[in-house]
């Protein structure tokens, strides 16, 4: 076999790898937060807004879920400037990831919301809460608790999917690997190392979500406040 691995050949590129890692992590953290917030709004509007708003949002969710992320990214990065909306690569990446996560999460969240007992809604209503107040204070947290495992997986999928933003020259982890292999031709080592980093990120994210979930949803185990 002609396979000889030389990871030391990667050592001059630690700076690039670190830069890529930071970009990937920052992109993931920011888009997770913005995507969740958008999803919360979309999920609410998909139930309570006027019919035409619900239709448009339904279209957005279905379009996003049934097209590849890379095409969404290209559409935003290459397509929008053609309409006169100039955006740089990192903004395009941020936008595409946020819209992508929000569409999936809105759909997941909808199932969680629909599982809300009728009694909960009636109790909120007899206490004088408006639809929005009851969504915000009564429905949302238990709904998130119900869908938390699916949500965790979706956020990890978006993190892994972010590897694609390297294709519009965002300097993320994958871009770092491409950069290294174009310089020293140790492509296999570069990709192997970066793949391992992604794997660690995925494992770390899962642990982090578990930890946060345990605190956030302590009420389920009947834990102390």
């Amino acid at each position: 076999m002609g396979l000889t691995l030389d990871f030391l050949a990667l050592s001059p590129y630690v700076g690039e790898l670190a830069r890529g890692l930071v970009t990937t992590v920052v992109l993931t953290v920011v888009t997770t937060l913005s995507g969740l917030m958008l999803a919360i709004v979309v999920a609410y509007l998909r139930v309570h807004a006027a019919t035409w708003v619900r239709r448009i949002l339904g279209g957005y969710v279905e379009l996003t879920r049934n097209t590849p992320f890379i095409v969404q990214l290209f559409f935003i990065f290459f397509g929008l400037p053609a309409l006169g909306i100039k955006i740089d690569a990192i903004t395009a990446a941020f936008l595409a990831m946020t819209l992508n996560l929000a569409a999936y999460t809105a759909e997941i969240l909808r199932a969680g919301i629909e599982a809300t007992g009728r009694g909960q809604l009636e109790a909120a209503r007899t206490l004088g809460m408006s639809k929005f107040q009851s969504y915000r204070h009564v429905v949302l947290v238990p709904a998130f608790a119900r869908i938390y495992p699916a949500l965790t997986s979706q956020c990890i999928i978006v993190m892994l999917g972010s590897a694609v933003v390297s294709q519009i020259s965002v300097f993320d982890l994958t871009y770092a690997a491409n950069f290294i292999q174009s310089r020293n031709f140790r492509s296999f080592e570069a990709y192997l190392l970066v793949t391992l980093v992604y794997l660690l990120l995925a494992v770390g994210m899962r642990q982090l979500f578990l930890l946060v979930g345990r605190r956030l949803f302590a009420f389920r185990q009947g834990g102390q406040a």
């Binding site: 076999m1 002609g2 396979l3 279905e62 379009l63 879920r65 049934n66 097209t67 590849p68 992320f69 890379i70 095409v71 969404q72 290209f74 559409f75 290459f78 397509g79 929008l80 400037p81 053609a82 309409l83 990890i156 892994l160 999917g161 972010s162 590897a163 694609v164 390297s166 294709q167 994958t174 690997a177 292999q181 492509s187 296999f188 990709y191 192997l192 970066v194 793949t195 992604y198 794997l199 995925a202 494992v203």
Partner: protein
């Protein structure tokens, strides 16, 4: 420069979409076969096999598909094989699909209530008999909707093969874009074609799920 009419663009995209479909089929059929093999091995009772398959699933679910494609493409080169983008994409997507399907199917097997095992034991059935007559038929029914649902992920996954130079729908889009500078139209069309491929599958999966739910709950 050659002038492209809208029809030229559409025609070229549709022609390229053939390869998206072919690659999807290869990945899905290959992945399902391999996934089935892994599922059976997992059930065989060998602990080492079980752990190894678990790791295999976690690794493929925990790393970017793009990296899997790069590794298949450049890894083969590092091993001294000169593989085509075709081969690399087929292999990577097949492995990717097998890992996910294996995990989905394990979930379906576990979703059959424990009481079914107990009841079969009481009736005097052994492991294989229980599996064959009680568990598998139920798990099979459960597995159809998510399996169809996952086929959507496979179709979308083939778009990444464009990055290693495989000319399918997305790659055709970027090539046409370089030639025509009409990115808005082109990527909208590309998205539309993917949507036309994926949406029916999504709908079908949801329909199956609904039907299963209705059958089980009423």
């Amino acid at each position: 420069m050659i002038e492209f009419t809208l029809w030229d663009i559409v025609r070229n995209l549709l022609l390229a979409a053939r390869w998206t479909i072919v690659l999807s089929l290869i990945a899905f059929v290959g992945g399902a076969s391999l996934g089935l093999l892994f599922t059976v091995l997992r059930l065989s009772g060998n602990r080492l096999l079980k752990v190894m398959i678990g790791v295999y699933v976690d690794v493929f679910q925990g790393t970017p598909l793009l990296m899997q494609l790069f590794l298949a493409y450049f890894g083969a080169a590092a091993l001294g094989f000169n593989v085509s983008a075709w081969a690399a994409a087929s292999v990577a997507l097949t492995l990717f699909t097998s890992a996910f399907l294996c995990d989905i199917w394990r979930g379906c097997l576990e979703a059959v209530p424990r009481g079914q095992w107990h009841a079969s034991r009481v009736l005097g059935m052994d492991y294989l008999q229980t599996m064959r007559h009680v568990i598998l038929p139920q798990a099979l029914r459960l597995s159809v909707p998510p399996t169809v649902g996952f086929s959507v992920q496979v179709v979308k996954g083939t778009a990444l093969a464009s990055v290693i130079g495989f000319v399918e729908l997305t790659k055709a889009g970027t090539m046409l874009n370089n030639a025509t500078f009409a990115p808005f139209t082109i990527f909208a069309l590309v998205a539309l074609i993917y949507f036309a491929l994926c949406y029916p599958l999504s709908r079908y999966s949801r329909y199956l799920e609904r039907r299963l739910y209705d059958a089980g709950m009423r």
